[in-house]
Symmetry: C2
Amino acid sequence: MVITKTATPPAAARGEDRHRLGVLTGVAALGLDALASCAYGPEAIVLALAAAGVAGIQLTVPVTLLIVALLAVLVASYRQVIAAYPDGGGAYAVARRNLGPTAGLVAAASLVVDYVLNVAVSVAAGVAALTSAFPVLLPWTLELCLAALLVVVGVNLRGVLAGGRLFAVPAAIFVGALAVLIVVGVVRGHPLHPLPAPSPMGITASVGVLLVLAAFANGCAALTGIEAIANATPSFRVDRARRARQAELGLGITLGTLLIGLAVLVELFGARPTDGRTLLSLLAEGSIGTGPGYLVVQFATVVLLLVAANTSYGGLPVLLAKLANDGALPHVFGLRADRQVYRAGLVVLSVLAGGLLVFSGGQVNVLVPLFAVGVFIGFALCQLGMLRHWLRHREGRWQTRLGINGLGCVASTVAALVITVEKFTEGAWLVVLVVPLLVALFITVQRAYRRIGGELGVDQQPACPRSATSVVVVPVVAITRLAEKTLSAALSMGDRVVAAHVVFGTEPDELAATREFQRRWEGWQPNVPLVLLDSTHRLLGPPIARYVRSLEEPHVVVLIGEVRPERWWERVLFNRRGSVVARYVGRHTDAVVCRLRFPLRRATVSRTP
Amino acid sequence: MVITKTATPPAAARGEDRHRLGVLTGVAALGLDALASCAYGPEAIVLALAAAGVAGIQLTVPVTLLIVALLAVLVASYRQVIAAYPDGGGAYAVARRNLGPTAGLVAAASLVVDYVLNVAVSVAAGVAALTSAFPVLLPWTLELCLAALLVVVGVNLRGVLAGGRLFAVPAAIFVGALAVLIVVGVVRGHPLHPLPAPSPMGITASVGVLLVLAAFANGCAALTGIEAIANATPSFRVDRARRARQAELGLGITLGTLLIGLAVLVELFGARPTDGRTLLSLLAEGSIGTGPGYLVVQFATVVLLLVAANTSYGGLPVLLAKLANDGALPHVFGLRADRQVYRAGLVVLSVLAGGLLVFSGGQVNVLVPLFAVGVFIGFALCQLGMLRHWLRHREGRWQTRLGINGLGCVASTVAALVITVEKFTEGAWLVVLVVPLLVALFITVQRAYRRIGGELGVDQQPACPRSATSVVVVPVVAITRLAEKTLSAALSMGDRVVAAHVVFGTEPDELAATREFQRRWEGWQPNVPLVLLDSTHRLLGPPIARYVRSLEEPHVVVLIGEVRPERWWERVLFNRRGSVVARYVGRHTDAVVCRLRFPLRRATVSRTP
């Protein structure tokens, strides 16, 4: 395979690089959901084949070989993608650049759906592995799922790096445990003791092409996640593209080997679906019994599946940030918080995945049919884009590359069609509905940003700013040091200052208060004109806004003085009128709204009687 | 009884007066909870006496006469209060002026407790009358209570007046229905047909002083609410004091007559407590049968009790406003909304009453023991204050008045002691606990306001405001029309203007963006110096706050330009950075924080390509 020279500029080395991924940590942090699909992929195949009884189960190895072949094609294709697009973005970037913006958005929408489903499926499958080992926990499935999700979110708020290093250990243990289990089982050639009785299940299908297609559609769930490395290439250390390609290859070889090994075990052991037990737990029991080794396998599976959800946290926020930079999502998704975390994307991913878990009650079988559809739409668009890429850039051994990506395109398109048709009534319809809706959202946001950008003149040079006469309106409630400080600030800010006192109510006490205010103002003589504004309905904002609109100066400033209490609970002692006026005037006039906070300090109290 | 000439200034007549109460509407709006206590007061007496069996029931009339005598004393006393304090406030105002601020706050705290309990008890008793007539509704007691509370709140948000006029009709029907029922029953002298069997109940007490005390303590609940008119005198039309005194007298006569009449009926019919039925519904059945007349009585009771809760809405918000004006509660309680409604007090009352209903499950018997304690603490303090008042102001027939209030003081003190001792374990302890806590709250708030008032110099004349040099800092994110408009405003506001651009992140794309910004700024030449501020942890607020603190000018203004989108959903397209910076800088510096909103208008879009 030819590796294109990357054009990535070396990443800045000021300590940021140590937050990044190497080949092994990359496989661990970004390839986990692909590896973890060993826990539900083979089970999905067996579940479909079991509809034809024991004869169906004997097709496990052939179907798995079909899926591994598809895996090989896709890995080869994605290595091309990494080489050609080292800035990441995967299907989105490739489809957008080569097939046009709308195809890019379709790819992005399908990826968004899949990243979210990956979190939900991984968490649910992890909890299923746990309840296989400890059936007493079965009634708490959903609660366990949500608790696990919270743990994953907490870890990811600390940054993608923390995930990578932390998760390398369980990934190694899981792969090692599966390798031991496969080798022991294949060498012995039969289960250690008879497996638990399979669930009673009528034979509803016969061995044939349709059965193979159904099993293939189900098994494609095992390939979800292999695109994550290509999408997150910028998370790697220098030089990114080389490390990412190595990680992609390592992931493909490991995953393919494990899938074939597990399929062979299924046929050797004659394993069939059993209520309340995962297929992997049955294979472990058949291979190494239910001793401490069994618990190690189950525990490694639980931990790995829970951290597999992490792949989405490495991938989706980066994708959403790209969409935000292209104006297809609110800019907030493009803001990095501390430790390189795109916080908005992280939160949206967590909320949606939590919603799916609640919706499905934490059941893997409800979620898996939704899963593969979107993934393969993305695969197909990405490979189609790569075809266009090589046809445009006919350089190096472009014919070979065109062939690789052409094969990938055909294979993933066929897979996408098979899955959609096979799984339509089982939930794929939801994905078929959500993807266009997401695309419509992206396009709406893009149009709005374009309109606003035109209005703001982002691409033009604006006129030079120039000074103009200004007037400062200061709402005054009482004659205090706050009023003095506010009016002083106003005199420093504007060419003209007006104090505005709102008079409301015609109760005797209210009228008396107004007279008293006027009397004190006259006694004070602050050299600022005072206007009295009548209020209808006892509201403060409208009379001030009305007065502001009546002014003729080009720049009107409303300066609101507020007390800032020293202790938090003292806030309730102030009636938020400042906030109310600021908000009303800000919404209903073009004035600049200013707020001056007068700090109350305990130290100064001793000076006052 | 001698009526003191009032010193109230005539209320302003600009249409506000028609929102106020006359004598009859005053009895209806403010005396309702006293009248409505006919529905649970006699029942409370009978419940206590039934512990001594049929012999106990025969004490109903003597105990009721004792309570009516107390009523007469209290009405006479409160007429003195109205005359002496026509500005309202009742126990609070009287105790505060004559016994000192702390006694006033104790009276206020007890009144707060009682107003809240009145709402809860009235609503619960109203629902009990309803479920007496329609036992099928019994399981929905709490839900009905909360729904009824919502209706009362809704009516009161429209103003006290709307309550008064609207509620005069059911009050008249209730009083009329009770009068008919009593006259018919007394004339016939025996029940129309045998009453339903009383609940089985062991005889646990013998006829004697303790039994009378227990019945008296229970029956005092019938007198709650007679102070409401004195507390809310300012709600009456001119001249307030005379109308309020007439209303107080009318209320006393009506209530006393009804209580005695009902007690006579109880003895004539030998009525005893029956599960799921109110005493009043038993008397109605004995007097006029279970035909349409019975339903009229029950329906009138339900409606009256529900509107009885309204008395608290007339009284508590006024009391809280008085406390707020005296600095013992946050000022927000003193703010009148449209239609004279003190909205904060109304909301607090509703939330607390709703909480009590939920806590008690809507059961009258759980709430009644808590009720009378606080009321009689307030009565006693008020009358004690009046004693001091007459001893200080020895004018007119002060000896007579001293005598009236002295009698009132002794009677209500004795009643308060009896109720507290008798009902301590049944819930009175809660009131004994809450009243001091409320007093502590009032005192804490008063101290805080006093400290803040000293700091603000509310009683002194502040220095004259004076101008000083100022600098305006403008955070600029991008070079757009928004930046132009913001810098123009800044140039009009300050002696010196500085544009501040926060640089964060060392990712290649971020460094490139900063270079591009500098290049465009140099091309723009806006004649404003630009400072680049480095951000740690990718936050916007801290670098700007740090820069602001480093400036030497006495007045620093931070002017933040923000886009105001035309459509509400477009808000999500802007990342709220303006708000974040405004809040951070406002909290961490003494700078004046200004926000300029740049409106996006659809009309102008057509001009841009």
